[in-house]
Assembly symmetry: C2
């Protein structure tokens, strides 16, 4: 059977799993009328927001699609549209499952912790498997159509180029939508959250999720459109870009190999993705408490089962695709280059020799790296370890020391992931050169089904807690949802660390694609990518600046939109004085509508920054110092974005999670508990961490990818 | 007259200015007995701290000096010791002037704003000119002894190598002391400041600088040992490293030039430094209010006079040193390389051709860049502009939004300086290749006398305010010192932005010295510095990690030491209940002693990070991937540190200054003024900004330089 068809079947399996499981989830008890009413309001708000967001993005998308069609041809435009639409679909489904499972999780938590966990995790698993499945299907079906239906030949340089351009355009579509979704959703969720807290907890003195707060529905809507829809679109993008980049690199570097081996190599990333969908589905059934109350332990069980089962399956598909695990690929077939030699030194065909076995080992590195990043993230954001406890302790001496310690932890938290990524780069490069790095990244992303499941579980439990509070359910229900939610803070941070970590590897692959493309499309250009070339330094500095500027814009946007929320809530309290004694109902929809408009408005300019920056830098340096230096600066910009962005994103996401859980740790009765001075300081830290971890930090990941992809498209457009 | 002798004379001129002016300052009215008593306590504490700090550093210094002697010879060890001692002397003098001028400034402010400004600024000018003068003398005298006394010949490769190694060792001595001084002083000042605020303002409800607070003297000591001694050592280091690196680069790259031109070129950076000492001295006399109350305007006058007068003087010394401003140097003399060609591509002798006129233009770029950075810093930290006002406004909605907006501003504030530095790199490189960048950096640092004067003025006024408060002087005196101090926040931020900006340029020069050294010392090594080499990526990532880890350590250290202060003050309040009603006196010395011990203990490990990191990275990569990749990773580490460090340092120093002045802006009566909720939020922001701007941020500058210098020394040691 054709390798790509197998991948398509496995992708469809994920979709089937999604449908079957969602029937189970939707069949569960939906709670009482009050709960349904609240959930209905959340659902309505989330759908209204996504509708408006996607309408706005569609306008940008149509313009970009036309530009892609003009500069790169209609096939690329089709790829762009497929990537864009499916990225949107992934977000839409994630949000829809989430808003329907929140009240059911609250209802299930009435029966017990295990029941609540099962329901919330299943809801997460639907989103996770659908994200991975749709991403795999997007590339596999598109590639299948290009090669098997349209008959583009892998052995023809021109037709191979068409395939490459189309795959890059597909990734561009996914990335462009995902940055809007991540940022728009991130601004929405945190503006509502911060705004609701400021005016509710601080000014009016009413608890979180109190139904008298007009911003409370907006806050819950935010969990769904930011943490769920935005996250799903982001991980869809990460998957498509990583697997796509590995295929593109194979197409660019290994075309001189034996035709069968070459075809198998191009399809292998898809097969690895498919294999891990199977193991992710199996893993979901192992997420159970087993008697205790260790929610994080239950999550680990599921992840470990998935990762361990993936090992033999990846071995099997690699052997199946390549035939002989020990046959040498690359190297002598392509011009005898030393294993340690720099990539593409002599043009497009130089690549270190490697075997299928090497790729297998590199895939294991990817699996291992995922596990290590999960473990590090738990250390930095879990309530059982030094970092979170040090922030909680620092809260005793006030707001200032809480924030100082939180910032210190956020800076520190970059160290171990960076060392892990560096080790991953070195070992996989030693094993199989650049292809090794690509396979490590691919294997990381292959686990996306399971990792996203862990993450998407978070907003569901968060919402369930909100519904339990607003519907006035028994205190014990809220306790259970809080226990589930505390883990949610860690799993949410995990996905972000994982996404940015994989982006670190994927960006290297994309940069290699850039240099290889450059050599192929502009053979006469003698571009000097050496650190000794000042234009390389210029590119690195400008690239590293982008995440800072982007982060500043995201943080400011949240502050501004939250200010609007505060004003609206104050106005509602004034207009309807009966709200506080429950004699009047706040106008929830008005606040939702206001945050919607603010988030949409605020997301546009920062999202365009990574799209326009590579183009501007290229043309400015072109004017000042000629084309070769412009290419060098542009290439360095791509690496500058990743070198700068990795640290900004890691520090923001881990720091934000740590602040949030330090607050939860205090609320659990430590350092004075709820209402103490330490708790007030911890609330400040949590507020500061909010836009860090849910707006600016996670959006850096698609930002890095967009910058890289735009550079690839720019090269293609210049060459056309 | 010998060119180097002229530079020595001009350096001595700065010392003479320092002596004459300090007699004037010390001759001024020293206020009443109460003031003298307080100032005496501050002075005693500061001297005790510096004594202990220098004793500790001396222990480390002796060990390092022995290592330098063993691996690089006794001449390098002598250079190291000179650099180290003079760096310490610069800090010591700065501190001493500061502790003697603070009470005199308070006394002068009793007479009027202009009188206070004159005295405080003169005190700053003494430190500024002595820093610049001593730095110039350190290099000029050492170089003079090497060449004119010991008779080392510029035309002999081996003897030239001895000169290079000795100059690098001199820079190393300066840098090593300066990182300890910056970090130790930074931890001291902010631990005392944060601790005093937390327990005084927040817990006991007594105002800032209240004599009942046992930490109040420690807080004032901190201004002198951190902002003054630490800053002076830092700028001494920056000067020595930048001017030294330019000379080293000349020695390495241009030795094939005509002997007279070569000798002139090597001495030219010293002459430019000397010329700007003259203009800085003249400039100090133009810092006057001229009737109004615009303190920042008075500062600008002095700076602009210095910068404008420097233009013809730099032209003159360049012509004097080189003879013909339009004769081509480099280029064809050295093997005909294109102007835009990468540096050192063909070994040590390839350098783009340039003329004296080109160097002159590049020096002007350095002057311009300094002005632009001052202007940008004022925009981001001054109370008249959007950034500070946006933080003040965000304080209205609470602690959280204050910090969010402050972080957003701190991220944003990196953009314009980066763009300015990038523009400076491009234009100066276009004009004169790498030497152009070196001259832009040298001209920036040549203005150090004036820039440090503006900075050192800050802690003097800060202390004067404290003394006025503690001595119970009339409210109007405190108002005047507050007006002077508000500008101090900006000028302190200016120096940090300036130091890190010049470090951006100097690091490029140091990196070029590294690659040139590498080619000379290991001619057989074919090191690939291309971004396509994964070990380059590994080096960039590890380098960018260093400032994050370093920042985390600095922030944590402040938090920990501040916690100790809080506990001690609480204990004193308990042991001596009469403190609050003035019937008992707090034991100030005990708190000073405690902070001293804490700061010394906490400074060691972070300071060793940049010393050990290059060595560890080299040997780890050597073991894993061989020497050529180890050299590549090490080189990339150097650039990674600057790419990462530039943003960390810029964001921390500007952000911290903005937070501080947002508090001041509210205290001026905006957004509710002192005591309002907005003010409390602004105090939190100020506390957060404290370790940002005075501990972690500024110490990044010497950290970058140390990493680079250790790499150069490592090369030399490996080659020996």
């Amino acid at each position: 059977m054709d390798l790509v068809l197998i991948a398509i079947v496995l992708g469809l399996l994920a979709v089937v799993y999604g449908f079957v499981t969602s029937r189970q989830v939707l069949g569960a008890d939906a709670g009482n009328e009050k709960m349904q009413e609240i959930a209905g309001a959340i659902q309505e708000g989330a759908q209204a927001y996504l509708k408006r967001q996607y309408t706005t993005i569609a306008l940008v998308g149509v313009v970009v699609a036309v530009l892609v069609a003009i500069f790169l041809g209609w096939l690329s435009a089709v790829g762009f549209v497929i990537g864009a639409i499916l990225s949107g679909v992934a977000g839409f489904i994630g949000m829809n499952i989430s808003v329907k499972s929140n009240l059911r999780t609250a209802a299930a938590a009435m029966k017990g912790l295990q029941q609540g966990l099962t329901l919330a995790f299943r809801a997460g698993a639907i989103t996770g498997l659908l994200v991975a499945g749709l991403a795999l299907l997007a590339i596999a079906v598109f590639y299948y159509v290009l090669v098997n239906v349209m008959g583009l030949s892998l052995s023809d340089a021109g037709e191979r180029r068409i395939i490459v351009d189309a795959l890059v355009a597909l990734a561009f579509g996914a990335s462009l939508i995902s940055i809007f979704a991540r940022l728009g959703g991130g601004i929405f969720t945190k503006a509502a959250d911060v705004g609701a807290d400021l005016v509710g907890k601080v000014e009016a003195g009413i608890p979180e999720d109190d139904p008298r707060n007009p911003a409370v529905i907006a806050d819950n809507v935010g969990d769904n459109v930011g943490d769920c829809a935005g996250m799903a679109a982001d991980l869809f993008e990460t998957y498509v870009v990583t697997v796509g980049a590995t295929m593109v690199l194979t197409l660019l570097l290994l075309f001189n190999s034996d035709a069968d081996v070459f075809a198998g190599l191009v399809a292998l990333p898809l097969l690895i993705g498919g294999a891990c969908i199977v193991t992710s589905i199996i893993g979901t059934y192992f997420v159970r408490l087993g008697g205790g109350t260790n929610v994080m332990g239950a999550m680990y069980k599921g992840f470990i089962v998935t990762a361990v089962l993936s090992v033999p399956l990846i071995y099997f598909v690699t052997q199946y695709a390549l035939g002989d695990m020990n046959a040498v690929i690359g190297g002598e077939n392509l011009g005898a280059v030393d294993p340690g030699a720099p990539i593409a030194e002599e043009g497009t065909s130089s690549i270190a020799p490697f075997t299928g076995m090497d790729l297998f080992w590199c895939s294991l590195i990817g699996l291992l790296l995922t596990g290590v990043i999960i473990w590090i993230t738990e250390y930095y954001t879990g309530t059982n370890f030094r970092p979170v406890r040090s922030i909680a302790k620092a809260s005793e001496t006030g707001h200032g020391t809480n924030v100082i310690q939180g910032l210190a932890i956020s800076l520190e938290s970059t160290a171990l992931p960076t060392l892990a990524i560096v080790a991953g780069i070195i070992v996989s490069y030693q094993l199989a050169g650049l292809m090794g790095i690509a396979y490590a990244a691919t294997a990381m992303l292959a686990l996306a089904g399971m990792v996203v499941a862990l993450d998407a579980y978070g907003p569901v439990t968060d919402n369930a807690g909100g519904i339990a509070e607003m519907a006035g359910l028994d205190e014990s229900v809220r306790e259970k949802t809080d226990a589930l939610d505390a883990v949610g803070n860690t799993t949410k941070a995990v996905t972000k660390g994982y996404a940015i970590g994989s982006a670190g590897l994927a960006a290297l692959v994309l940069f290699a694609a850039y240099t290889t493309d450059l050599a192929e499309l502009f053979p006469a250009a003698d571009v000097d990518f050496s650190l000794e070339n000042p234009y390389v330094i210029v590119g690195l500095l400008l690239g590293a600046l982008l995440p800072y500027l982007f982060g500043a814009m995201g943080m400011t946007a949240v502050g501004r939109a939250a200010g609007d929320v505060v004003k609206d809530v104050r106005a509602q309290f004034k207009e309807k004085p009966g709200i506080m004694d429950y004699s009047e109902k706040p106008d929830y929809a008005r606040t939702v509508d206001l945050v919607t408009k603010a988030a949409i408005k605020e997301m546009i300019i920062p999202s365009l920054l990574p799209v326009l920056a590579p183009i501007v830098v290229y043309f400015v340096i072109l004017a000042v110092a000629g084309q070769e230096n412009a290419f060098a600066a542009l290439g360095a910009l791509l690496l500058g974005v990743i070198v700068g962005g990795l640290f900004v994103a890691l520090s923001m996401t881990a720091g934000g999670g740590a602040w949030d859980n330090a607050k939860k740790y205090i609320e659990d009765g430590n350092h004075g508990g709820k209402g103490s001075e330490a708790h007030k300081a911890a609330v400040t830290g949590d507020t500061v961490g909010d836009p860090y971890k849910d707006t600016a930090g996670p959006a850096v990941n698609p930002m890095i990818k967009i910058t890289n992809i735009v550079a690839l498209l720019l090269l293609a457009a210049l060459a056309h």
